[in-house]
Point group: C2
Chain length 110, copies 2
Amino acid sequence: MVQFVHPSRDDITLEGVLAALSDPMRLRIVKSMVSRHGCMSCTEAAPCPEMAKSTLSNHFRILREAGLIHTEKKGVEHRNVIRQDDIEARFPGLLRTILGFCDEPHQGKD
Amino acid sequence: MVQFVHPSRDDITLEGVLAALSDPMRLRIVKSMVSRHGCMSCTEAAPCPEMAKSTLSNHFRILREAGLIHTEKKGVEHRNVIRQDDIEARFPGLLRTILGFCDEPHQGKD
DNA sequence: TCAATAGTTCGTTATTGTTGAACTACAGAA
DNA sequence: TTCTGTAGTTCAACAATAACGAACTATTGA
């Protein structure tokens, strides 16, 4: 089963986005997804490996329901993409501004 | 007594600011303080009159400890000012960007 | 079919938010 | 000075949310 809830562009709220990004772990998840600019599985985007799977899953659900990421099933894993266009359309400059201030996590920009 | 805790400019963190602003009530408090651009007592800046004093007090404490506002005692009330310069120095454009998206609360800009 | 992998859901525990009541601090009046 | 009213804070209780491990589902490959 596992139905993914994705708000439409217009249903993305400022409070929702800020609340989702107010958690350091989620901020790092989003940051690495933006710098990668492509799909990432939940495990790939995990900010630290010792985090419980259930906690990670919860963070992705929050990001998803805030409209920050789009998730779809691809085989055994979930492919997550940042909804950069939607966020930009809704709150121009917001994501860029916020992410510009947080430190690079570890991504190698291969 | 009542010692106010104000982080120094450098101790203001992005997560702290985002967490403080991720609450709709606090967002409205900050918004009205910015548009007023002057001191406001806690009661003046209250987003809705039916909110419990203790809740309001807690919101102001969070904003204060996040470095968003500066509070000082003035007679029987507390004068709160937004630390716009500090936030701007630390995270240029952040406050302006965020506040630009949230609706005007009610302030009449007298 | 069986085992392994990627995530989700559930139940428990810990942390945080909300509220009314009691408290502190100050201002003005008597 | 003392008394009263006002502005906020602190405290204790309860409610909501977050983190975790364990059990579960779905898919892949042997």
